[in-house]
Symmetry: C4
């Protein structure tokens, strides 16, 4: 396919109603993911155990609900790591991928801003910014984010189904994989798994320590998870030629 | 439709057996929602963390079970915010809406009265009255109730399905959305999300501080959630012309 | 039907292979319900909050698994309150009902004996005996057990489906209703909901205080729950003429 | 069948692509099961209650996700006790059984090695090695592992379904049965239920106290669970003649 064909196809997609509906869903979903996921971490207590279990529930349930409600429109990515791995495995087009990531980031920033406004300053703490624990070095933090995102994206890919020309994952199992990742990584790196979820609070709270880890770890882990699925699972062949 | 037609239709509905069955289910469900939802908050401990997780489980599971058992009769609203948003989006008639809200309120009061009788005074505390935390101002409290109800009603609308002429939501996902809202709002406003759930304990315990927030927040959040669904999700067109 | 016909029918049933398979399943399930339900309460800690959440998980998950694995054979009662309410609503025959209750009691005693053997004495505590809290009077204890069983049996009846001539409830929802009841009643009465679950530990540990409450409360609550379903839900008519 | 036929059949299987795909899935799944299951136990806290509930969630969710994602390829054993009981009940061939167990052990060792590398030494503790509590004698420890594995394997067998010539269990119910076993056995024996899950951390951490219990208990409990299903449940006849 020449560059001219590609441009023509991109232009067509740009005018399609479905793309804009998907972007609206991704934007809207990213706002809600940050509000409810991070918002539940803000309690009057500083007990880390409470935060751990709150995070397991809040991000897991939020993702599960949002995939259920928005999945049939946009696929329920809500996560640049998901979008990039679907891009690398060629399930979505470059244009759609870039737009998705853009609105996910903007959505997350809006969500963090709403949280900043709505949560009283006494319990706002660090606004749910993901932080690497002081006893965890950068290589390990990268490894933890890599592994935690790997299982999430691998689950996402394996449960994908084609519903009316949109690839939708299973909402319950994907929610569970997010819960597992939170339980695994929360005490080590804050369990981002999702660069967009990290950038919103980081910007509003202006806290950028080790921020690169929350981009490199999840995205590489996600790509690795996507290709692992592609080269191992047998169902994937059915979806191979499909591109949204 | 003239006022005469409307009156005639309302009269017909008033004589329909299905309306009265639905009212019985809503009444009965509201009693159980308050007994089990609020009742689980009453422990010998005053530890707020225990109450938080108990509330996440109790209201989430209660709603999930009641939607499963009563949903096919009345739709499993059990919540004036749900009823008002279904009324505004014209899924239910005005008559049905008003009657539902009435029995939900009466049911909640009965439920709170039963709890008052059955729970020993040592652990009855405030009978599960929803209270705004002293460090949370009214605007924020409104915002929290608005957001928490928004996600619940948005989930309710998105998972609606027409089963034998009754619109029934998905019991598991709706239960999860209630759990998420409890986790988000419990420490800030007591997580009402449901004006009827608030009025019962408030009346029996005679505690009306900031009570208006639990009506205005959930109902506005609910209407906003309902219309958000109407103008974004594609399935909604199928249900558009349907009115119970 | 004269007494002679009845005796003839009872004799036929007595020789049917299905009855004996069901009894085996009920016996086996009651053992496992007591071992895993009560066994999970035995920790090195005496912290009541840990016990509360352990009980919510252990009885809920146990019942859910056992209904899933044994439900298609016997219906997964595992509880005299379930059996009696199915008997009163005429879904099962008198003979089957009496035999079920008998093996449930024997199974529970065996389960408690196995627990007594397997759990070290340091953490065996009271072997999971259900006890009324010292600040709860008998009338309230009765009311709590009545209500807690009511919701369990009402859920059981509402989710019943006829699978190959056996009435099987929904395993997940029934498990959730048990969890809710534990959360509600554990701190007040120990949350029996099930006379058989109470009698096993009571016999092995020889502790019979207020034991009658765990028979009268659940059984009356169960019967009330069963009839509430019969007279309200519309599906029930389909099953009305059915008797295992 | 003579030994010659058997050798011929084994050779055929050895060359089949499906066997090697299954082994890859089992290897890969065992790595992830140990990383996420054991990894979630490693927190900055030493509070045993936190570990208990973390273990209930981590192993339960991990198994649930892995059965969902890998089950359709290999059946999602990830556990020599599952493999041996399927071998004894003749659902899988000897060759496949031995290879499965081998890769499960190697996978677990790799998983433990990755954990050793990725988790900072301050919270690595004992790397999730399963230990018998000092107040629990060996016979009881054996009994606990036996019972805990029994319920897991019984659930596994009962929910087996033939999907495209692979026997796959129900992912949610199996995950719940693992959670129940963790809750039951964690404080007594560390809740292995799975010899492969025990051997990896034991080798890397070089800690072999009572290690035999984690082989004998689960495998005997598993065989007992498998045969209990075979001789009681009626569905099993359909699968009887099936051998992968």
């Amino acid at each position: 396919m020449g560059i001219k064909d590609w441009l023509k196809k991109a232009k067509e997609e740009l005018y399609s109603k479905q793309l804009w509906k998907s972007l609206r869903a991704e934007f809207f979903g990213s706002i809600l993911y940050v509000i409810f996921g991070c918002g539940c971490l803000m309690n009057w207590t500083n007990d880390n155990t409470v935060k751990l279990f709150a995070s397991v529930l809040s991000f897991g349930i939020s993702y599960s609900i949002l995939v259920k409600t928005l999945g049939s429109t946009s696929g329920g990515h809500l996560n640049p790591a998901v979008t990039v791995s679907l891009l690398c495995t060629r399930y979505i087009s470059l244009l759609r991928g870039l737009f998705y990531i853009l609105v996910q980031i903007i959505g997350s920033i809006c969500g963090a801003a709403i949280l900043y406004g709505i949560i009283p300053s006494e319990i706002r703490h660090d606004l749910g910014v993901t932080k690497v624990h002081k006893n965890v070095d950068n290589v390990r933090a990268f490894g933890v984010e890599f592994l935690a995102t790997f299982i999430v994206i691998f689950t996402y890919f394996t449960t994908l189904e084609n519903k009316n020309n949109v690839l939708v994952p299973d909402s319950v199992v994907c929610g569970l994989s997010i819960s597992l990742s939170q339980l695994f990584a929360f005490n080590l790196t804050g369990a981002s798994i999702n660069p967009a979820r990290s950038i919103g609070p980081a910007l509003i709270h202006n806290s950028w320590d080790n921020h690169w880890i929350y981009w490199v770890g999840p995205i590489l882990g996600g790509i690795f998870g996507g290709f692992t699925h592609e080269y191992t699972n047998k169902q994937s062949a059915d979806l191979q030629n499909y591109q949204t």
